[in-house]
Amino acid sequence: MLTRRRFVGYSALSSAMLAYRPLLRFGLGQTPAEPAQRPLRLAILGSVYHQGSDMQTMADRFLVGYPYEGEWRIPNVQVVSVYVDQQARRAEAAPSAYQLAMTGARVAQGGPSGRGAAGAQGSERAAGARRSEAVQPPEELGPMSDLSEARCQQFGFRLCRNIPEALRCGGDRIAVDAVLTLVEQGDYPSNDKGQILLPGYDFFQQCAQVFEEEGHAVPYFNHKQLSFSFEEAQSMVKTANRLKFPLLAGSSLPVTWRLPDVDIPLGAEVQEAVMVGVGGFDGMDFDALEALQCMLERRKGGETGVKAVQLLEGDDVWAAGNAGRWSKDLLSSALSRSDTPLGLTVLDGRTQDLAASGVLPQLVKDPAAYCIEYTDRTRATLLMLNGAIMDFNISARVAGHGLVSTQFFLPPAPNQTYSACLAGKIEQMYQTRSAPYPVQRTLLVTGLLEACLNSRRRLNQRLETPQLAVSYRPPAESQYART
């Protein structure tokens, strides 16, 4: 296995190139996006920086570039500071050097050290001193190892102990032009609804406090849902409006490629939509609901909010289909877009009409239906079909256009190039100081998911959702990857 020391050694040749951005562009034969402008200084705040984490996937795109519109795009962005919540918390919880000295224990290595190009000389010396005292063998870099230290050494950003430090880069004023946050599952606790208490709101509030204190706010991206709580999410959107900074949020599913390349025609009357997907509660259901929403918001009258939701489970899901609560035609159409039928296809490769009678109940042991009633009477259902498929597909009945159906294309790991589509949107917001699509979409979906999980906790009752009277207009131009 690769040791951290050896890894840094291996990457020494390229690290000089990667740390100096004009050289990187030259090396890759690229020209900077905005050659006349100095790079935007970016603070990245996240939960965990290990291989395959959302933070690693997205933060790396701003360090080494990403595929976008037929080029390997090197964003005109300089990552100047990084905060990794679980590393920082762990370091904080660990006994101090003084405590360890008092008990005669050796000083432990690791944890945020406040080094980097923008770091203060004093702390750099202190970190170096600490390292030389360490007698443990070099830490192995396994698949779940924290990479923030290694990236810090390679790219020269400041690895910070807390969020205000990341925004001020060790000084006393905001020293970044944009913020990227990626909170995700680490070892955060869950509530009784099964929601992981991700600190998206805490991160945001800490930033907003700094913005407010200094009377200067910068564009902010929040990955996936705003919070586990709709109330907190609302407060985030209000704060962004009050402090007048662009706020963009959400997942990659609304902006990834589609197979085929289709959208709901803007202003068309949508009667009903069925989305099929896979995943657990408070997981990929958010992404699926957001993908559904990014299409439905284009309907006649724009978004006017959600009147009621109900989360059905087990045989009630199939019964609801039989009772016409969700359309079997739309289910059949959405499933026809799937490239991943399970069951007999896995057995001998055959094609299958999964919508045919009896197939789904056999394959899907724990189905879930997220039934959504919009205030304008449009209906939508997300069917989570673990065991039947492995991809995300939608079909909508659109007046005058028949059924509009597509697959939201999720290219495979490790590259997960769908998140490059999102990186492009984030960078666009940073450069233009304007969100390419409204954060109200993510706000509504944050609330939708919470309401559905409430329904689940209340024995799958239908719940009126007056709080979800969220109205907004979609961007006229489709925002998913097409070029």
Partner: protein
């Protein structure tokens, strides 16, 4: 000989295949005709019936009996002639579906598997000739491993007057982004980057290029020469600009499977040194068309697991590029859905009696594959290809790739 017109009733098809096993081409193609498939937002049942099946190699893993049991309209016959005549002594079907890919056949001295496309074709056309009647013929992938036989297949289809359609699914699958090569455009250079080995996936890379550049100004003019590059010679040629590194970069920027060249990164553009470390046996077929166009088909096993295309088109500041997306059943998907547009286009031929794209495309790519292997066999020398210089054709101006 007149071609049979069968527009009023459901066409009856004979399937002639090498081996009918899980995830082999015959299974993908014939299953779609039997069981249907997702198409255009619905589960599509082809308006035709496979009534007979000939399987050249059976044995362990054979699925043909299971399929015949589930689809009683399809009978298994011991010979190709009987599959076409249904035991009546004369041609009794309205179309023939031939899948000559896979199975176990001997290799040529140059390492190409002798898939029986031509032998199957001979058996089928014997029945056509005997009855004085021919029907549309679908031939999966290349025509033959032997150039003369490939040429003979095309000539025979013209002589007997039946539509012959074939080729790779790369030409008809999804494109990401969903773009078509502008008809009549002037193109200076084109590349495809793919994976797999010589005398197998090279055919897919060649069809990737050909289905695009055949739409250029003047149409297809044929290929003058070809040179294969491997090993150190490949990297020297890459550095010397024998093909455009900028186009390779543009193509790779469309890949969704770029192997990270640096440990702990998941999506990072590799340096040339990293590419060298990742790609142990790189292969390039660099070839020149009669009208001066230069194209290069690259196989970079270890670097990517998809097929991408890039070209320099006059009047465009940036390379024109896309990925020919294959939803591969290697863990990424369970269905090889790229067979769906291949089968759909075959159905259209059976229904209309017209090939949806010219068989000359497949003739040219079959010949390019043979020339690529010849060049490698002759010490990576440039080989002149007068036979390929004579392949001239015009493309179907309509797009036939998967878009809906």
């Amino acid at each position: 000989m007149a071609q049979d017109q069968t527009s009023t009733k459901r066409p009856r098809l004979a399937a002639v295949v090498t081996a009918y096993k899980k995830l082999l081409h015959p299974q993908h193609v014939v299953d779609r005709l039997l069981d249907g498939y997702g198409w255009n937002g619905t589960f599509h049942h082809p308006a035709m019936d496979v009534v007979s099946l000939y399987v050249d190699q059976r044995g362990e893993g054979d699925l043909s009996q299971e399929r015949a049991d589930r689809h009683p309209t399809m009978k298994i016959y011991p010979t190709i002639a009987e599959a076409l005549t249904l035991g009546t002594g004369k041609l009794a079907v309205d179309g023939v579906v031939v899948v000559g890919e896979h199975g176990n056949y001997p290799l040529t001295e140059k390492g190409i598997m002798k898939h029986p496309h031509f032998e199957f074709f001979e058996e089928v056309t014997k029945v056509f000739r005997a009855g004085g009647r021919s029907v549309p013929y679908f031939n999966d992938k290349e025509l033959s491993w032997n150039w003369d036989w490939s040429k003979q297949m095309v000539d025979t289809s013209h002589q007997l007057g039946f539509p012959l359609q074939g080729g790779s699914s790369l030409a008809v699958t999804w494109r990401v982004p969903s773009v078509e090569f502008p008809l009549g455009a002037t193109v200076h250079e084109a590349v495809s980057v793919g994976y797999g080995g010589m005398a197998s996936y090279d055919f897919h890379g060649l069809e990737t290029i050909q289905c695009m550049v055949e739409r250029r100004k003047g149409g297809e003019t044929g290929v003058e020469w070809l040179q294969t590059y491997r090993g150190d010679g490949f990297w020297t040629a890459y550095q010397d600009g024998v093909w455009s590194p900028a186009l390779v970069k543009a193509a790779l920027s469309r890949s969704s499977t770029l192997t990270p060249g640096s440990s702990t990164f998941t999506d990072i553009f590799p340096t040339t040194e990293q590419m060298r470390a990742l790609v142990r046996d790189p292969i390039a077929y660099n070839y020149q068309y009669r009208d001066g166009l230069r194209c290069t088909m690259l196989l970079m096993n270890g670097l990517v697991r998809d097929f991408t295309f890039a070209a320099t088109i006059e009047g465009r500041p940036k390379p024109f590029s896309t990925q020919m997306y294959l939803p591969m059943p290697d863990g990424r998907t369970t269905l090889a859905s790229f067979f769906s547009p291949l089968v759909y286009n075959a159905e259209q031929m059976f229904l209309t009696g017209k090939a949806q794209y010219p068989i000359e495309r497949t003739l040219l790519t079959s010949g390019l594959l043979i020339a690529g292997v010849d060049s490698a066999f002759q010490g990576l020398q440039r080989v002149q290809t007068p036979n390929l210089a004579a392949v001239n054709y015009q493309p179907n101006p309509e797009s036939t790739f998967w878009r809906s």
